[in-house]
């Protein structure tokens, strides 16, 4: 064993450059410290008590009926959200990809719009919208669809509130996955089916959909995990689920190890979902024909039908954008009581933002955290992608696996692990959460960053690098002069996305930032939303600010990446 290990090491030293090996070791140290160690720490906390192996904490969990209810609730939430999201996203993607539709450019922009804010921000506004005497019911009163003496109480159904908001928010991710899956289909297969007499819905069901399956499995597991572990939305709607339990357990994590057990259950489920999604995708992949020359091209349809399709998609997208409109209305509303729309408008909430000490520091905090984490992401992502894609270091698949792990390990799990694992160390988030927040943001977004770099590197030709080496340039100057210029757009796009998402990250922010001076934007929004009076309005104003920021960032990176955006959000 030790002999073969020594031999392996010797081979690696022969096969790979020293710098690459050093970077490789450094990357693993980062993963070990900030991904594996916290998980291991929780494993130890959950399974070992007073030096003895124990399953008591899990038994306690299972015996607690309210906890198993919360688990079931989360499961139901994720299942409903996933099913609905895909049901909407797949047909939209198909129609958009295959048919010539009016206003397609607009549709393409609108469909990405819901990504510009975390669902919990819209949830704050939507909750106001749905109040007993809120704007929605007022509208229904006017239309004589509801009885003013006994108004429907929408908020009694928090489950559907959460589901709807999650669906609308995850729609773009599922859509991008579906588009990518469609793009990989060999169009000649559809042509062949058509020449054999299939068309329309039948063609879609028998040829297109089955060929899309590998990509869709990926989308399913991605959306499922996101919905399963979403903390913000259920929190706002007060819908009891696992994420909320975990959030509340953070306070007592050091005394009560059953928190670890619960987090591990959640992690186990997520990893299982992720893994089986991947397995299924691979299994289907074998059965589908590898992509041939994909002929791009949109079919013309009669104007009336095309118009109808556009209208239908617009309607869905309008619904998706509605919560954001609610946020904006909220942010500018002065008086909005017992009316459909606010009857007085104001900029006061934005002015309040500027003077409120909490909000100003939080914006500054978020900018610093996000910049730092985006930079960290670019460095990590670029290094990982280069080592993996160019096979410059040993065990590239392992490195890739570790980099992709944050897709399967939910943010609440990592954050929870940090609180426990780094307690009473210089990194203790109870003291100064800044380093851990930056690292947590970076690790969460790392898969997307690595993806963006993969996409860039795979397009950047390796032969060009060889040509450069061959002409006498050192590996480093080859990287700078030949590789970097080719992947620069991807790198910047990935960096901007990492920055933007860090700005609006929810679970890590809520869990890791204990002290007000360190609050990032999202935690302030959460704190404000729970405050009486104009709290929700100021929170909405902050939400608008965040949305504007994220929209700008998205537009910028979309320009840089073009159609390859889908590569980043695929699994």
């Amino acid at each position: 064993m030790s002999f073969s290990l020594a031999k392996t090491l010797q081979r690696w030293r022969f096969e790979f450059a020293q710098t690459a090996l050093a970077l490789w070791v450094a990357l693993w140290l980062v993963f070990i410290a900030f991904l594996f160690y916290p998980i291991a720490f929780m494993l130890q906390g959950a399974f070992v008590y007073k030096g003895q192996f124990t399953l008591d904490f899990f038994v306690l969990l299972m015996r607690d009926p309210s906890l198993s209810d919360a688990l079931k609730a989360s499961f139901g939430l994720a299942a409903a959200t996933t099913a609905l999201t895909l049901t909407l996203a797949v047909p939209i993607a198909f129609l958009m990809a295959r048919y010539r539709l009016p206003l397609k450019g607009l549709l393409n922009v609108l469909i990405l719009l819901p990504m510009i804010s975390p669902p919990f921000v819209s949830a704050i506004a939507v909750k106001q919208l749905l109040a007993r005497f809120g704007p929605l019911n007022q509208l229904l009163f006017i239309l004589h669809l509801a009885d003013p003496t006994n108004p429907p109480s929408w908020l009694d159904y928090p489950f559907w509130g959460v589901v709807v908001l999650q669906v609308l928010h995850f729609l773009p991710i599922a859509y991008l996955n579906a588009v990518a899956a469609l793009a990989r289909i060999d169009r000649s297969l559809e042509d062949a089916a058509q020449s054999l007499g299939a068309h329309g819905f039948r063609l879609f069901c028998t040829i297109t959909l089955p060929l899309m399956m590998p990509g869709l499995f990926a989308a399913v597991s991605l959306v499922f995990i996101l919905a399963f572990t979403d903390l913000g939305t259920p929190l706002v709607f007060g819908y009891d689920c696992v994420a909320i339990r975990i959030f509340h357990m953070v306070e007592t994590v050091l005394e009560n190890p059953s928190g670890y057990a619960l987090v591990l259950v959640v992690m186990g489920l997520s990893v299982a979902v992720f893994w089986s999604g991947k397995r299924w995708a691979e299994r289907w992949q074998v059965q589908t024909v590898p992509r041939g020359a994909a002929e791009a091209g949109e079919k013309a349809v009669p104007a009336l039908i095309a118009g109808a399709i556009t209208a239908a998609i617009l309607l869905i997208l309008f619904a998706a954008v509605l919560p954001h409109i609610a946020v904006i209305l909220n942010a500018f509303a002065d008086r909005w009581v017992m009316t459909v729309l606010p009857d007085r408008w104001t900029l006061q909430h934005f002015l309040n933002l500027l003077v409120h000490p909490l909000t100003v520091t939080s914006i500054r905090n978020s900018l610093i955290y996000s910049l730092a984490s985006a930079t960290l992401d670019i460095l990590l992502g670029l290094t990982i992608a280069y080592l993996v894609v160019r096979r410059k270091a040993p065990l590239p698949n392992w490195l890739d696996g570790a980099a992709m792990l944050p897709l399967a390990v939910p943010g609440i799990v990592v954050a929870f692990g940090y609180v426990g694992a780094f307690a009473n160390t210089p990194l203790d988030p109870r003291g100064n959460p800044v380093p851990l927040l930056i690292i947590a943001y970076a690790i969460r977004r790392l898969p997307y960053m690595v993806r963006a770099c993969y996409a860039g590197l795979q397009q950047a030709s390796e032969v060009l690098e060889e040509a450069s080496l061959n002409l006498g340039a050192s590996p480093f100057s080859t990287f700078v002069k030949v590789t970097l210029p080719q992947i620069f757009p991807h790198l910047i796009a990935g960096g901007i996305m990492a920055f933007a998402f860090a700005m609006l990250e929810v679970s890590d922010s809520l869990i890791l930032a204990f002290e007000q001076t360190y609050f990032p934007i999202t935690k302030v929004i959460y704190a404000l939303a729970n405050r009486l009076g104009d709290g929700p309005r100021i929170a909405s104003a902050m939400g608008v600010l965040g949305m504007a920021l994220l929209a700008g960032a998205m537009a910028l990176s979309l320009r840089l990446m073009g159609k390859r955006m889908g590569d980043v959000f695929r699994m």
Partner: protein, 371 residues
């Protein structure tokens, strides 16, 4: 000018043994070809020489310098890639300048050398184009200029002509050969196209399954192949079963399906009774109209089955008894009376083989045949 020496190169790619102990010596200034079918390991061999891959076993030296584990950027072995690998974000000028700037040469010298190199490949005036604005042939020449401008010790070419159309390819063959002579750089050229190799090479190494089958000048390989694979890879060949009847100082007598043949002496050890292959190139088969009853040595009556007129030649499919024979005749119209008339060929002709064109090849399956 340096020599390139490969000694016992072994290379695994994943779980596949791609090079099984390759040894070669390329002489200084030589235009050396590595020829083989796809998958024979020739490109891997080139990449090992360039330093993109390090061999598991064996030694590579350029002249006296052992470069076995020298990284590619320190080898000074410039390569022309199959798809040219021009940097798409740089203009022609900057592509060619790349290796010179890396070497930190003075500006004036860089400018002069680029001009020279572009002039050499006849691309004056294309300096400020981007690679995508060039035709395939022009891109190919930029790639060539970029490689030679650094004055490499060794020039490596990886099927550089495979992406050009047939006419351009034929043109570039002549140009490349002339350029190589002019520069005198030790050059290793990898290809699967035997015509290219025969047309340009000083010497050729034929590879199969990660091993070198034979090394020699184009004529040696074509006329005296060492085995059946080389014989058939380099051109069309008739190959028959044979059994050695007698061995003389100046030849061997072999029993074949056609009858007894007097052959060129083998360059491997044979004994009476050994199974061998007998190989003869179609264009060396002599055809005459006269059907004399008495047969001389190596002369047989043959039935004409198919005649294909190719313009400069006629391809014939013949049968001697039950044995098919391919023949290619260039002297159709010259002998008197002409062999080939508007009425075609007679149904029966006489064919004859010169002993020096009948080559004996060893049978790899000798043991099996002997039983």
């Amino acid at each position: 000018m340096v020599s390139v020496r490969l000694e016992g190169i072994v290379k695994w790619l994943g779980k596949t043994l791609v090079l099984r102990g390759v040894s070669l010596t390329v002489e200084p200034g030589e235009f050396f070809f590595v020829l083989g079918p796809s998958g024979c390991g020739k490109t891997t061999l080139l990449r090992v020489i360039a330093g993109f891959l390090f061999p598991e076993e064996g030694r590579i030296s350029f002249g006296d310098r052992d470069v076995t584990t020298v990284p590619p950027h320190q080898r000074n072995a410039a390569m022309v890639f199959q798809h040219y690998a021009l940097f798409p974000h740089m203009r022609v000028w900057d592509n060619v300048a790349y290796g010179l700037r890396v070497r930190k040469l003075p500006r004036a010298e860089i400018r002069q050398r680029i001009s020279e190199a572009l002039h050499l490949v006849r691309l004056d005036g294309f300096e400020w184009r981007y690679p995508l604005q060039l035709s395939g042939g022009q891109q190919q020449r930029v790639a060539l200029a970029r490689a030679i401008v650094v004055r490499p010790e060794v020039l490596l070419l990886d099927e550089p002509l495979s992406n050009l159309d047939a006419k351009l390819r034929a043109e570039m063959r002549g140009e490349l050969k002339a350029l190589q002579r002019q520069l005198g750089i030790t050059t290793i050229y990898v290809t699967h196209d035997q015509k290219e190799a025969l047309a340009m090479a000083d010497r050729i190494a034929v590879m199969k399954d990660g091993q070198v089958m034979q090394v020699g000048s184009p004529m040696e390989l074509y006329r005296r192949p060492a085995n059946r694979f080389v014989a058939e890879f380099l051109g069309d060949a008739n190959v028959w079963d044979g059994r050695v009847l007698a061995v003389f100082a100046d030849g061997a007598e072999v029993e074949t399906p056609l009858g007894k043949l007097r052959c060129h002496p083998p360059d491997f050890a044979v004994q009476v009774g050994d199974p061998v292959w007998v190989m003869v190139r179609p264009e060396t088969v002599q055809i005459t109209r006269n059907l004399k009853p008495e047969t001389r040595n190596n002369e047989f009556p043959a039935k004409v089955v198919q005649v294909t007129y190719l313009g400069e030649a006629v391809e014939l499919r013949l049968f001697v008894g039950e044995t098919p024979v391919k023949a290619l005749n260039f002297a159709l119209h010259t002998p008197h009376p002409p062999l080939f008339t508007d009425g075609g060929l007679p149904d029966e002709v006489s064919i004859q083989f010169a002993a020096e064109n009948l080559v004996l090849l060893p049978r790899e399956d000798a043991a099996a045949v002997a039983v």
